[in-house]
Amino acid sequence: MNILGGGIFSGMAVTLKNFVRSYFDKSRLTTNDYSWQPDGELPKSIGEYPREEGEQLSETTTITNYSRNFPMLLHDDGEPMDTVRCVACQICERECPPQCIYIEKSTEKKERDGGKPQFYPAKFDIDVSVCMSCQICVEVCPFDAIVMNSQFELSSPDRFGGLLLRREDLLKSNDYYHKIHPEEAEARDKRIADEKAAKEAKKKAAAEAAKKKAEAKARDEGEKKGGAE
């Protein structure tokens, strides 16, 4: 038989315990604890951010290696527009669920560093007030041109223009991508390299096969000739 009001007393014991323990046991605090975050750039307890007035996190700060916020356009080393990976195929524009991407294809092709001439986006706008950070555009992109940025301090006093990211705002280098999502970027680069290697190997194989064929043909012909002699 329990005592009168026993449930209330046991509840009060729980709250008293929490009251006392909250001063000693950090894991009890509701405040979010990012101590598992590998790099030390983030305040250990994000609950106290910003600690100083006007404190800004550095541009490459990410909450986690997998965090995603809004998309950005990747370019390789060199002049951004010369090495932009996007070829304005407009798949992401079609697939974007909230339809926040607006692309205008260039009229003529442009020479790339070490590649064929390609189209490029004359206009590439992302309306981040509509974007819902779903990463569908990243998945459907066949050229690995669009990836997720983790920049989250985007507030702007300009209600209309401030949240419309233009092509220039979206262009980010592959190095930057490596900084914010190291694991993901590495995996992506590896995959691209593998694909390229496979392609080249295939090409080589095809070329070799063609060569062999040609050689065989030549030998055949030679033999024929020899036979005829």
Binding site: L4, I8, G11, M12, V14, T15, L16, N18, F19, S22, Y23, R28, L29, T30, T31, G47
Partner: protein, 408 residues
């Protein structure tokens, strides 16, 4: 104009007007901080001294809140009764402030050797206290009615029902003390607790528990905060109050809490009595305030733990549990007092000649046979506990924790 009288009045009242509102500010901070810690949060920790980076654990928060409240727009709903809408918060504050005067706080500013100053040395202080606090109910209903809001109206209705119901066990548990002391004067009651605080007697303890529960209900504290039940009727009677009017309500509510805690301290916890109370005239005041703070801490703790009762359960708790129990308590107190007196007289004790009463309680305790008194103590507690359990079983017979089955 009698200048001395004016001086007396000022000396007696100004400290009250300084101590309690500042205690209010401090309590809001403590409450927020303590609730935060109970809930494993940090609580207010930014506001400190303005223009510096010193945050002082957020102690500046009440001041910041107060300033914000004053500068907020005062919104009166269209169709509300403007006059009563304004009157209600004022009327909520005034009775609460008034009853502070009946507390046995003796400020030694003036001629301490001759007489300590008390605001109101009224012989029937306890009766007056209950009479004046009853006015607070009116303010609450006025607010509920004048707002022209259905939630407010529901809150006002709840407040009336709740406060009237809980007033009865509240008064009945105070009657115990009056029986023990034989006086309605707050100072007499405190003086009577020189040796033993009434909370350490079985009847006093039961009465204290009932009194405390009723005090929670009277001041709309959790788990009896039905008139302002946030999850049900938005904010109850002050749904439509904003800015300074809201602040007044808030202040009135807290002052009422101090007043009723002060009364509980006076009646059950020995008022200003405590170790070293005779050393300096300020010590009893410190003791008194410390005890009030302990009661308030208890209230905060309860608020952080308990959910709210429902309105019919609240009523049945008051009428079917607290009321019979306090009546029984009165019965047992009377019987015990007679028994004690009989034993006392049997043992050759004398009646108190000074007062008009048969026995002086303290005298009996001091002189009595410890076995008799101990037996009485245990017996009364047992009877009261069994009675409480029985009443509990009667009122909530079907409510029990359950066992659950599993399907594989």
């Amino acid at each position: 104009m009698n200048l001395d009288l004016l001086k007396d009045i000022l000396i007696a009242t100004v400290p009250l007007l300084v101590i309690f509102p500042s205690l209010f500010a401090f309590t809001t901070w403590v409450e927020r901080k303590a609730l935060a810690r109970i809930q494993n949060r940090r609580g207010p920790n930014r506001v400190g001294i303005p223009c510096t980076r010193i945050s002082l654990f957020g102690l500046g928060q009440p001041a910041a809140d107060g300033i914000k409240m004053i500068f907020k727009e005062d919104i009166v709903p269209r169709g509300a009764d403007r006059f009563f809408h304004l009157l209600a918060p004022i009327l909520a504050l005034i009775p609460a402030m008034m009853v502070l005067c009946f507390l046995p706080l003796e400020f030694p500013f003036w001629n301490a050797q001759i007489k300590a100053m008390r605001a109101f040395a009224l012989d029937s202080a306890i009766v007056f206290f209950f009479a004046v606090t009853g006015l607070g109910t009116l303010a609450v209903f006025m607010a509920g009615w004048a707002s022209r809001n259905k939630y407010s109206l529901l809150g006002g209705m709840r407040a009336i029902a709740q406060m009237i119901s809980y007033e009865i066990p509240l008064v009945l548990s105070a009657v115990i003390i009056v029986m023990l002391v034989g006086s309605l004067n707050a100072a007499d009651i405190v003086r009577e607790q020189r040796f033993i605080w009434f909370v350490f007697t079985p009847w006093g303890f039961t009465a204290f528990v009932i009194f405390f529960i009723c005090a929670l209900a009277e001041t709309n504290r959790s788990p009896f905060d039905l008139p302002e039940a946030e999850s049900e009727i938005v904010a109850g009677y002050f749904t439509e109050y904003s800015g300074f009017k809201f602040a007044l309500f808030f202040l009135g509510e807290y002052i009422a809490i101090f007043a009723i805690s002060g009364l509980a301290v006076t009646l059950f916890l020995g008022g200003g009595n405590g170790p070293g109370a005779g050393l300096h005239p300020w010590v009893p005041i410190a003791w008194f305030l410390a005890k009030v703070c302990i009661l308030i801490a208890l209230m905060i703790w309860l608020r952080g733990t308990l959910p709210r009762l429902r309105v019919d359960q609240l009523m049945s708790f008051a009428w079917k549990f607290l009321l019979p129990l306090s009546l029984l308590n009165i019965l047992i107190t009377g019987a015990a007092l007679h028994l004690l007196a009989a034993v006392h007289l049997h043992g050759g004790g004398q009646l108190d000649a000074l007062t008009d009463r048969k026995v002086d309680f303290n005298q009996i305790i001091e002189a009595g046979n410890p076995w008799v008194i101990g037996g009485l103590w245990v017996g009364s507690l047992l009877i009261l506990y069994v009675a409480a359990r029985g009443l509990d079983n009667l009122t909530r017979s079907k409510v029990r924790p359950r066992e659950y089955k599993y399907a594989e």
